[in-house]
């Protein structure tokens, strides 16, 4: 038996689940995921898995040397967002309400605001399909405008499709709201215009019929570049 005692208050990131799952027994207390532990943890390795124990020890020792510089040792370009403020509650450690917690904390605060207002289902300022939007990106080509034809609401994975006619060819682009490349989403003109009665005319959530009728498309996107 080889015992590997992990030091207190160290986040063991990068410990592959292969190591954790195979021939490893975690001494009590048990945790839902090995990367959440902040108390001393002892891992028992069977005699036959000396190599695995050695690899694990290497990972831990490498972590203790370069903790300040590298949280995730396997990639230099991976973006590791900072942990949300406050320690997670005990029920979350057990796995209760995990998805709801992630929905609140994964996107950045500005993006959360966009998701909860513009792309929500009930907010008064929400964007309806048929609205003309402009998306500004951080890289070239910097902007794309188009009629919103569908919104796919999946919390942090929310995305929307804009359709535009560029040089007599229809182009559709699907943007993910949470993407760091999406800088701004601007509303050019609301669906149905300013007339409140006309707003009720558009009754569909997905305007895929615009692909087949260019007249309706031009009616909606009149004057958009």
């Amino acid at each position: 038996m080889y015992f590997l005692t992990l030091p207190t208050k160290k986040r063991i990131q990068g410990m592959s689940t292969a190591i954790a799952a195979q021939r490893v027994r975690v001494k009590k207390p048990s945790y839902p995921c090995i990367s959440c532990c902040s108390e001393p943890l002892t891992i028992m390795f069977a005699r036959s898995s000396f190599r695995i124990a050695l690899d694990a020890w290497r990972i831990v020792s490498r972590q203790s040397i370069t903790t300040s510089s590298r949280i995730y040792p396997y990639s230099r370009v991976a973006i590791i967002p900072s942990a949300p403020p406050g320690s997670p509650p005990a029920s979350l450690r057990r796995g209760k309400g995990l998805m709801a917690y992630l929905q609140q904390t994964l996107p950045s605060t500005e993006k959360q605001k966009i998701i909860s207002t513009i792309f929500s289902r009930t907010h008064p300022d929400r964007v309806r399909p048929g609205t003309v939007l402009t998306v500004n990106l951080t890289h070239a080509p910097t902007s794309f405008s188009g009629v919103l034809i569908s919104v796919r609401r999946r919390g942090p994975d929310t995305s929307f499709v804009l359709r535009n006619v560029v040089q007599r060819t229809g182009v559709e682009m699907q943007f993910f709201v949470n993407s760091p490349h999406v800088k701004e989403i601007l509303v050019v003109s609301r669906a149905g215009g300013l007339d409140r009665k006309k707003r009720k005319g558009l009754k569909k959530a997905k305007l895929f019929y615009l692909r087949d009728s260019p007249e309706k498309m031009t009616a909606m996107s009149a004057g958009v570049r």
Binding site: V166, Q167, R168, T169, V171, E172, M173, Q174, S179, R211
Partner: protein, 133 residues
Amino acid sequence: MIGLKGTLNVIDNSGALLVECVNVLKNKVNNGWGSVGDEIICVVKHARPISSGAQTVSNVLKVRRGDVRRAVIVRCKKPVRRPDGRWVRFDDNAAVLLNNKREMLGSRIGGVVSADLRMKGWGKIVSLAPKVV
């Protein structure tokens, strides 16, 4: 996703209007499907009539119906993923004709092309295009 028998509009001034794909080149494993930036062998199905009077003006080789040429796909209806996670979809499939040395046959491009061409190494076509999305 252009494969055998897939038709594409031609958007350069080489004279062809519609080509039909016969083979998709280059990639070792593509299951017979080509996307934006892939080279294909195609047969010209429909071409602009060549009038012998106007032939002397341009130095562009005009293709005829039935010619077998190479082409590169510049737009396709199947959504293509960009590295930043976006999906881009065009309303039609389009191609630009090439010769055996991967040079364009035409001299102008009339229409939008996909920006994925730049990533696959077709910078010349991207620079000639009036609009790149």
